[in-house]
Amino acid sequence: MSARQLGMVIDLNKCIGCQTCTLACKSQWTDRGGREFMYWNHVETKPGKGYPRAWEEAGGGWDGDRLRPGRLPRLAEDYGIPADFNFDAALFKEGEAPLRPLDAMQWGPNWEEDQGAGEFPNGYFFYLPRLCNHCTKPACLAACPRQAIYKREEDGIVLIDQERCRGYRYCVAACPYKKIYFNPLAGKSEKCIFCYPRVEKGIPQACAYQCVGRARHVAYLDDEDGALHQLVKVWKVALPLHAEYGTQPNVYYVPPLSPSAFDADGKPTGQPRIPDDYLRQLFGPGVDAALATLKQEIDKKSRGEESPLMDMLIAYRHGDMFRLSRPEGTQP
């Protein structure tokens, strides 16, 4: 555990799956040198196998104080090869050749976009942006036999020392979110760095800053006026993803509300389209209370009453979403 912890809250009710965060991250950090297949930040459609494929079944995390075994995702089958496309034939030559990947693709970072689950008229899906959770109890750090992974005291950011890493990939297997990637060209493992060079200058992470939906809040957990403390501790509407993995993640999600399902006669049932059970699987038992609070506050706001929670989630001022400077007088 670090002296301070920087965290993120992602409001899934505002995520439109536009992948601006994905590209903001990719163009900044992972567009070269064997990282082409890596998405330190990506947005997957839930329900779905996600990225890497079936990451929720790949093991890792903690079983009490013991690391649970995990497996290594495969490049073509689980991540997806970064395919080249027939741009020349499709765009610059005469004819009807459609734009197609040149390599046979088996998977990719957004492979199941908008597929979701359920039958018409009760189909449902939502978007789940995912990045390294900069966990308080990181399994990756514990799994490394070389102590190549460390958690920074001043902000809890988890980093891989590229000088120490020898590409053993125990961290990749140990991370239950499969958010550490092995760079086969460099022979070392790499991961989201929570944009620490930006953070150190008081600039928010690229994924958060570029989010067009104003879905991402960034703050230190101990900053009582910050969104993390307010949404996680006070309002309890932001929940960790798969807390049962035991790593104590520091990216939190405001769970998605959904419209009513329809019965056989086409009448609204009053039950949410996204089954509560499914949300409990992802976000734990606190999801019921979180959704109830959200509904209650939305109703207040729609009646013209005050709702500090809604004001925070709406984020009238973009700058208010990011609280990177340290509170007066505190030292890391």
Partner: protein, 311 residues
């Protein structure tokens, strides 16, 4: 001299230290000029072949388990360089692959023990007794490395060794050639099998092998290290009385598993570890072993028991 007669002579004439287990000695052949890099070069016939048993690493978590791996080693020296030729059976060829995230390469390493009063800990050295290493990974560039214990492997400056490998139907033949950067007395070997996700401690390793010139004897500095110890049967009883296996048994997890300690350790290390357990701790284990007040012969007996050949 007929072998039987030689044996009889040794039995009566030689002090105990002159007869360490035969696999703990590796003879180097001297030659004019540089030894060959090519594993099939004729010059290799001049180097005596010794078959070493590489044992699954079982001191820290993550070992491969399974059978021992016989590796044939030959060593040539000339032109200021040392060349080591290693050959072992391996069913599948596993190369470093820039298009795979889940595969590991076959690999082999030579570990050098710098000249010193005692040998460094076989598991990649100790904080004050570094080892030097050459590492070859199939499909990669050989590396020159140094280490002071598990998890401490780091790059060592200077020219890396050269390597040439040959994949046969049976397995690998690899030659590593370079200039050891410190005077050394012994070598040890380790091999990783990509097919079983070999990397880090998921390897098989040999005990230290004293490097000896043709016709030479064990250097004086290593005689105490090699001295066999006392009465193994008494040592076994003492091991049970003291309850050593409670921590050092195969599944205990509190201290290195010593079931097959004799496969990879020399008697000198075991004596030191019993006498002064806190002097060097294998990384990952706590300093929980008391310094037992044992008589010198009891320590000898325990060492003799631990050195027993594995079943």
């Amino acid at each position: 001299m007929r072998p039987a007669l030689l044996g009889l002579l040794l039995l009566f004439a030689a002090p105990a230290w002159s007869a360490p287990p035969p696999e703990r000695i590796i003879r180097v052949a001297e030659m004019h000029g540089l030894p060959p890099l090519d594993p099939v070069a004729a010059a290799w016939a001049k180097a005596p072949a010794v078959t070493l048993q590489l044992h699954p690493q079982s001191t820290v978590a993550g070992g491969p388990g399974g059978a021992t791996l016989p590796v044939e080693a030959r060593i040539l020296r000339g032109g200021g360089q040392l060349a080591v030729r290693l050959a072992w059976a391996d069913t599948g060829e596993n190369l470093l692959d820039a298009r795979a995230t889940d595969r590991f390469a076959d690999a082999v390493a030579v570990q050098f023990a710098p000249v010193g009063a005692t040998l460094p800990y076989i598991g990649m050295g100790e904080p004050k007794k570094p080892v030097r290493l050459w590492l070859w990974r199939a499909g990669g560039k050989p590396e020159r490395l140094t280490a002071t214990g598990f998890g401490s492997l780091s790059k060592q400056g200077g020219a890396p060794p050269e390597a040439q490998s040959r994949r046969t139907a049976a397995g690998w033949e690899v030659v590593l050639r370079g200039k050891p950067d410190v005077p050394f007395t012994a070598l040890a070997f380790a091999a990783w099998d990509g097919a079983e996700d070999g990397r880090a401690g998921r390897k098989r390793l040999s005990a230290w092998q004293a490097l000896i010139k043709p016709g030479g004897r064990l250097p004086a500095g290593l005689r105490e290290e090699a001295r066999p110890g006392g009465d193994a049967a008494r040592g076994e009883r003492l091991y049970a009385e003291l309850g050593c296996a409670a921590c050092h048994g195969p599944q205990a997890g509190l201290a290195p598993d010593l079931t097959n300690a004799g496969n990879i350790h020399w008697p000198g290390y075991l004596r030191r570890a019993i006498r002064e357990p806190a002097a060097f701790l294998v990384p990952g284990y706590a300093a929980i072993m008391p310094a037992f007040s044992l008589r010198p012969e009891e320590i000898e007996n325990l060492a003799a028991y631990l050195m027993k050949p594995s079943p």
